[in-house]
């Protein structure tokens, strides 16, 4: 039995399918991240789970029980919104106590639980503060405390930290991980920030155009992307995509980029499906090795450096292959200059190939 299960959920706004036949399962205690660009339907999915949106079709189960007929308040979920939703007419204590008060919990119990929650989020000294006097981080903590006291089956977090500045966001991210570890609660977390998703998530679901493109651990989505969208969305710096044509020779696979030939590489499956010959090579900047000068060796690619770039920690050179701009990481930026000749080879073990539909050729 899954703590949260979504089956074939579809939600249509006007003409647009915000969620298109989405299914997913979340296990007890999992930190599950919905990741995708703005407008991909991840928030809609979360809000459907909360009961704030009514899906057009599909079902949602919490702890094995369908919640489709239940009001948001009866679903045993708690939600944290993007905007601060602490009520300005209540102080911190009353805000955190609010869900308990609504449930009719007795005063002593409220006192105890709120005190515990405030201690867990490490702002016990703010209990009587007016919420206007809280810093951004403190307000977020108070909101987390309010979610905690509800003791729900699932925490729903809708881009909770996106309004914070970078430093605070990193800090709050660690906080939510600490609280997750301590309480073992199941979390469904929506974000458009892939770095954040990779760091906090046990499982990621990458969404695009209302559909889930891939579900997996952060490492799986990074190393074995299902398709081009996932490959370009996950990982920083972004993967390079180079159009190529496959050709077979003596049972070995070669890739033609423009007029140059790269290979051989071993891809048995591809040879079995010769119809998918128009390919895209996907390779991350750190999986490219470059050598200065025009190589004469067979099976490597030549190009010319267009410009160099350094972020301080990492150095990159940019060149063009098959009409695509390619970025490769280099150990020393000082070795390279504009219009240098460069010989390129890829780490063939990690090289990804995508078919014309964008699916990865496995």
């Amino acid at each position: 039995m899954y703590t949260l299960e979504v089956k074939n959920l579809t939600k249509i706004f006007g003409e647009q399918k915000a969620n298109d036949n989405v299914s997913l399962q979340i296990e007890q205690g999992e930190f599950f991240v919905l990741l995708g660009p703005s407008g991909c339907g991840k928030s809609t999915l979360l809000r459907s789970v909360a009961g704030l949106e009514i899906p057009d079709s599909g079902e949602i189960f919490i702890s094995g029980e369908s919640v489709m007929d239940k009001e948001p308040g009866e679903r045993d979920v708690a939600m944290m919104f993007q905007q601060a939703t602490l009520y300005p007419n209540m102080n911190v204590f009353d805000n955190v106590a609010f869900p308990l008060k609504i449930k009719g919990v007795d005063k002593q119990e409220i006192e105890e639980q709120v005190t515990n929650a405030l201690e867990l989020v490490q702002i016990p000294e703010k209990r009587d503060s007016n919420i206007k006097n809280l810093s951004g981080g403190e307000a977020q903590r108070a909101m987390i405390a309010r979610v905690l006291v509800q003791d729900p089956e699932v925490f729903l977090l809708d881009e909770p930290f996106s309004s914070l500045d970078h430093q605070l966001r990193v800090y709050m991210r660690k906080e939510i991980m600490r609280i997750h570890q301590k309480t073992g609660v199941t979390i469904m977390f929506v974000t458009h920030n892939q770095e954040e998703a990779m760091k906090v998530g046990d499982q990621l679901a990458i969404m695009n155009n209302g559909r889930i493109e891939q579900v997996g651990t952060p490492a799986e989505t990074l190393q074995q992307p299902n398709n081009k969208f996932v490959a370009q969305f996950i990982g920083h710096p972004q993967m390079n995509f180079i159009p190529a044509e496959a050709s077979e020779e003596d049972g070995q696979l070669f890739l033609k980029v423009d007029s140059q030939t790269y290979g051989p590489i071993s891809r048995e499956n591809l040879i079995k499906h010769p119809e998918s010959m128009d390919l895209t090579i996907g390779v991350r900047p750190e999986e490219i090795s470059v050598e200065k000068g025009k190589g004469s060796e067979e099976g490597r690619l030549n190009s010319t450096v267009e410009f160099t770039e350094s972020t301080g920690a990492n150095n990159y050179i940019h060149f063009e292959l098959g009409g695509a701009s390619v970025q490769a990481s280099v150990p020393e930026i000082t070795d390279w200059e504009e219009s240098d000749e460069v010989t390129v080879s890829f780490n063939n073990e990690l090289l990804k190939l995508f078919d014309p539909d964008g699916e990865r050729v496995k």
């Binding site: 948001p72 939703t85 007419n89 609010f98």
Partner: protein, 298 residues
Amino acid sequence: MAIKSRDRLLKYLVAPAVIFSFVAGVLPMLYALRNSFYNINVRLPMQTERFIGITNYRLILGDNRFQASLRNSIVFSLEGTIGAVLLGLAIALFLYYFLRNRPLLLTGLSTMLLIPALTGRISVAYIWRLLYDPVLGLINHVLGLLGFGTVEFLSNNNIAMQSVVFTDIWQWSGFAALFLYAGLVSIPREYFEEAQVIGASFFQRLRYIIIPNLKGLLLAVFLLKFMISLRNFDLISVMTGGGPGTATETVDMYLYWLAVGGRGLLSRASAGAIIMLVITIVSFMIIINLYQRQKVGE
């Protein structure tokens, strides 16, 4: 320097308004204040004006009919204001919960809600006098169809005041509703959604979220409506003329009668007007004070 001369220009520009309000508002008030200490009877034009101290105040405060009219004024203004604000809130909540996503219906209904407030008081008074009429009135006709006896809305001592108050509420609750609806829309939607996920009932939302977040606006609307209610001469004059007897006679009606209509006791009426002015100023100070404290709290 440029700023200074601009300031001077501004002073000149507001001067006409200041002068006008001084001549039309402050001077008559000061004149009334002066008159309230003299013995002036407009029915005895030959009488010499004589300073008589606070005699007028003593007489008017001891006047039963003045006391009754003061009570009527307060009842009318308070009931009318509270009624219009509460009914307005109910209408605003209805609009918010059921019509927020139907702009066409919302616009149409909002316009309709404003019509009573845009209609002149005298017209409203005549319309409702007709509606309430025991013989020709629509309300009694409907009551008759339902098997009830005729109700003398405006000539029954016990309900005349409530009938007039009801008309006042009818005229102004739509107006209040539009203000409060605007306030409701400005409450962040997430507050309601949060409450929804927490499982708060409608009344819990009303009590813990809506009322506290609308407090400032509720007070402002209260103040505005209270001001409108204090000017009730036209409505009540047309509907009941203060009757039956003096059951619906308010302070301004009585003072008018005292000075002009009946006995010509201009200076005693002036004393009554000054008393009313003081009461008004004090009650406004209290409400504004509450409003500002609310503002500071926000």
